[in-house]
């Protein structure tokens, strides 16, 4: 593959060109209620060629690998329609590596479909049998074995194997017209072994669904809110992380003024990092999809904005160093600036310290989802507990938090000492590319004056 790719890229006429080819195979099955209602096997083969000419990009997506050279030439022709200025593209180390696959105790390609079904069914039965109020369940198992081949016109080449196993466990409980759900998931770049032994998660999902039936909706209003680790991780990713993606910034002076390096965003205790090289992270890869080696990048250090995430193009245009954050979700797409493993570094406070002096507040747990539109964010906690007189009090449902990210970061007044990573199987979406596996981590965070939506 390497020689064919290199030959196709030779003397392309572009300032820069690359080819990424992917071969993938996977299985997927799902239970809904007692029955397995979905099972399929898929395979794919395809590639994308990109060319950069005088600052403009051309791209060609294909799945017939027959004539790679003409694909590259077509990408160059497209780029010529676009390029009108000088190419600015940051230098990157030339890489040459065949990355060994991550350790898989049990390669899922060798596990019989019958066993995959049995494992998923056991979780499903556990949730269905949790209690009479459990009305239905959703369990899905998915595995994908993805092989990526990358070559560029500068002579870089890598091959990487990216296995991914995802298990999602959902329970729905009903009491009259009231329907509540509980959800847990697991996603890892590993073998089938990580799909086993998740009974505690299944039980937690079912228990949450049932418990929420007797929980009142949270009263809408403004509260002191403590986010648990999973929700803190979503907040760091959704509300702040996306604004650090330089493709939003580099040609937008006003955004750059808002995100100017050196600006204070929070208290001295606040540190936010994105690290694509972190061993074992869900967003970990040795190289990004432009062949740049991943690394640890501080975004906020001691409350001050110190860095952001780059592709080679955005790094050059903003005259900053590459960060290894150009990622693509698959062969149908060019790489764009994305997060890898994003986390809030732990502080000093114990959970007791965070909650002690909160008279009336909300302890918000886990995530159902999160979304941002520029500085505005909305994220849904799976559930919450009211905090009354410094104690965790009753369970409440329908907890949706909203606000302005700049104000909210400033309002983080205490940071826990208990960093934890969400092991969920979800992924990030941007520019039509999803789900991209990302890591989300945080300690408990306390935030003042958060708007909580709810029925009044």
């Amino acid at each position: 593959m390497r020689d064919r790719m290199a030959a196709a890229l030779r003397e392309s006429g572009a300032d820069y060109a690359e080819i990424r080819i992917e071969r993938a195979e996977g299985t997927e099955l799902g239970f809904r209620g007692a029955e397995m209602d979905r099972v399929s096997a898929s395979s794919s083969l395809g590639g994308v060629a990109r060319a950069l000419v005088r600052g403009g990009w051309g791209g060609v997506t294909f799945n017939d690998l027959g004539d790679l050279r003409s694909r590259v030439q077509e990408a160059v022709a497209c780029a010529r329609l676009v390029g009108r200025e000088q190419t600015e593209f940051a230098e990157a180390e030339r890489v040459e590596e065949v990355v060994p696959p991550p350790p898989m105790e049990r390669d899922f390609r060798g596990v019989a479909l019958a066993e995959k079904k049995r494992v998923a069914q056991a979780y499903n039965d556990l949730m269905l049998g949790f209690g009479p109020k459990v009305q239905t369940t959703h369990v899905s198992y998915r595995d994908l074995y993805r092989q990526v081949y990358f070559a560029n016109s500068e002579g870089s080449y890598y091959e990487e194997t990216r296995p991914d196993v995802v298990l999602a466990l959902g329970a729905v409980a009903r009491d009259g017209n009231l329907v509540e759900s509980g959800f847990e998931s697991m996603g890892r770049a590993a073998g089938f072994e990580v799909a086993e032994g998740l009974e505690a998660k299944a039980e937690r999902a079912a228990r949450r669904a049932v418990d929420l039936l007797s929980a009142p909706p949270v009263q809408g209003g403004t509260y002191t809110v403590i986010l648990n680790q999973k929700l803190g991780g979503v907040f760091a990713h959704e509300a702040f992380g996306h604004l650090s993606e330089s493709d939003f910034l580099y040609e937008n002076e006003k955004m750059r003024e808002l995100m100017v390096l050196g600006k204070r965003f929070g208290s001295e205790a606040l540190n936010i990092v994105d690290d694509g090289s972190l061993p074992g992270g869900r967003g970990t890869h040795p190289f990004d999809d432009e062949g740049v080696r991943t690394r640890r990048n501080h975004l906020i250090k001691e409350g001050v904005l110190v860095g952001r995430l780059h592709s080679r193009e955005t790094a050059a245009k903003m005259k900053e160093a590459v960060t290894g954050n150009a990622r693509a979700v698959g062969w149908r797409f060019p790489p764009i600036v994305r997060m890898t493993n994003t986390y809030v570094e732990p502080g000093e406070a114990s959970f007791e310290d965070l909650i002690r002096d909160v008279k009336l507040g909300l302890y918000a747990l886990d995530m159902v989802g999160g979304q941002t539109m520029m500085e505005m964010f909305t994220f849904s906690a799976a559930c919450g507990y009211m905090i009354r007189d410094g104690q965790v009090a009753e369970l409440v449902r329908d907890v949706v938090l909203t606000g302005n990210v700049f104000e909210t970061l400033e309002n983080i007044d205490m940071i826990g000492n208990d960093l934890a990573w969400a092991d969920g199987g979800g992924g990030c979406g941007k520019g039509g590319q999803m789900p991209l596996p990302v890591g989300l981590g945080s300690p408990h965070l306390r935030i003042q004056r958060v708007v909580v939506g709810g029925k009044q």
Partner: protein
């Protein structure tokens, strides 16, 4: 190739279906006032479904060199598949539905680049401070579907898309607005899309405060998706069959205001989800889902219909809606606004899908919405949430607007909901 896949499959299977799709596309995209890229694609994929020992299996590939593999995987999967409650359909009478316009593919890359530039220039002309993004693209494809009941369908489809929008930053305030149009026929819609995007920016030039209370909310044609996402799940025959839909068992009941009629229609010429057949080869049709507030039909595919003892409504596979139409009412949007003393006009929300969508619950941030005071739009609202339940809101609908508008595969007028809970930052 496709015949060979069917022959191979039928060595083991009682029934089989093979679909082969080939597509080509081209597009130009502008971001932050600049032409960023021109992209083209040439892709193909093959999907197969088999019935082996009374059970269904499926497999899919984009590697057309691996026909044996995909057939073998479908057969292997069938051992664990659901019971086949249907037969693949044979040839049948189907409506003629226009889905292909040869002009689409004749559009050069250069013209796409020019169309994007034209939209961008119009928005910049209104306000040079707006960072504008725009795009023009087309997609054409051929799909052939054959099955063991003698069906052999070939169809061509095309799609021409334009979109334009931008972000306006003032201090820490960021306003995003956009407008897009997707249609199977090439139409000159660039100027219109830009004008619609400009209109949204213009209405947001001023800001207004909303108080936390229950008030009337007018959903713009695009804003109706707040209601339609849950409703689409609720009328999905599979969700009904599983008992997950709150509409299960309520056929014939009044579930919405009499001013609401909702239709699924695959036969609209050139609409985004139109076709003479669905993905399983069942003829496309028009199905009234809600008639003047009364629930009249769910949407079915072959498998779900087989289990329910009914016939497919041509919404396979998956029981998903094709084109969703809300039948327009009497009042123009302007009249609805003039008749509102205090309320909101909502164009888009974010966070939909984070509450219990199946149950109809929503608690969403208003991404682009306007305050109405004494019959006039007075400005854009910020930091405001809408909370409620779709099925309660449907009963509180007080009227549908007179002008329906396409957005993706939905054609809806504005909808006035008499009372919704609005939560503002206090």
């Amino acid at each position: 190739m496709i015949e060979r896949a069917l022959q191979l499959a039928m060595r083991k299977a009682e029934g089989a279906e093979v679909g082969l799709s080939r597509g080509r596309s081209a597009g130009a995209r502008y971001e932050d006032d600049k032409l960023k890229g021109v992209d083209v694609a040439q892709t193909a994929s093959l999907g197969i479904r088999v019935i082996v020992d009374g059970k269904v299996g499926s497999a899919h590939t984009t590697d057309l060199g691996d026909i044996e593999g995909v057939v073998a995987r479908a057969a292997a999967v069938a051992e664990f598949g659901s019971e086949a409650t249907f037969n693949f359909p044979g040839p049948a009478e189907a409506p003629e539905v226009e889905t292909y316009d040869p002009e689409v593919e004749r559009t050069s890359r250069e013209e796409l680049v020019e169309t994007g530039a034209e939209m961008l220039a119009l928005v910049k002309e209104y306000n040079g401070e707006i960072k504008v993004s725009s795009g023009a693209s087309w997609h054409v494809g051929e799909r052939r579907l054959i099955n063991s009941s003698g069906l052999d369908l070939s169809k061509q489809g095309s799609s021409f898309d334009v979109s334009v929008g931008g972000v306006l930053i003032r201090g820490t305030d960021m306003l995003m607005a956009w407008h897009g149009r997707q249609w199977r026929r090439k139409e000159a819609r660039a100027r219109e899309a830009a004008e619609r995007a400009i209109e949204k920016f213009r209405m947001a030039e001023r800001t207004a405060q909303a108080a936390s209370k229950t008030m009337p909310v007018i959903l713009t044609p695009r804003g109706t998706y707040v209601l339609l996402v849950s409703l689409g799940m609720g009328v999905n025959g599979k969700n009904v069959q599983k008992g997950d839909s709150p509409l299960a068992g309520r056929m014939g009941e009044s579930i919405a205001s009499p001013s609401l009629t909702l239709v699924d229609d695959r036969t609209v010429p050139y609409a985004p989800a139109s076709g003479s057949h669905d993905g399983e080869g069942v003829p496309g049709r028009r199905t009234e889902i809600i008639s003047e507030g009364v629930l009249t039909s769910f949407l079915y595919d072959l498998e779900t219909a087989g289990k329910a003892g009914t016939t497919s409504t041509g919404n396979g596979p998956g029981c998903y809606a094709s084109n969703t139409l809300i039948v327009p009412g009497e009042a123009a949007l302007g009249e609805m606004v003039r008749g509102t003393r205090e309320g909101l006009l909502v164009e888009s929300v974010m966070g939909l899908g984070q509450s219990n969508v199946m149950n109809g619950d929503f608690s969403v941030n208003v991404a682009l919405g306007y305050k109405i005071e004494n019959g006039e739009v007075v400005g854009r609202v910020k930091n405001v949430m809408l909370a409620g339940n779709v099925y309660e809101a449907l009963k509180a609908v007080e009227g549908a607007g007179s002008e329906a508008e396409w957005s993706g595969a939905t054609c809806a007028p504005a909808i006035l909901v008499g009372a919704l809970s609005v939560v503002a930052r206090g």
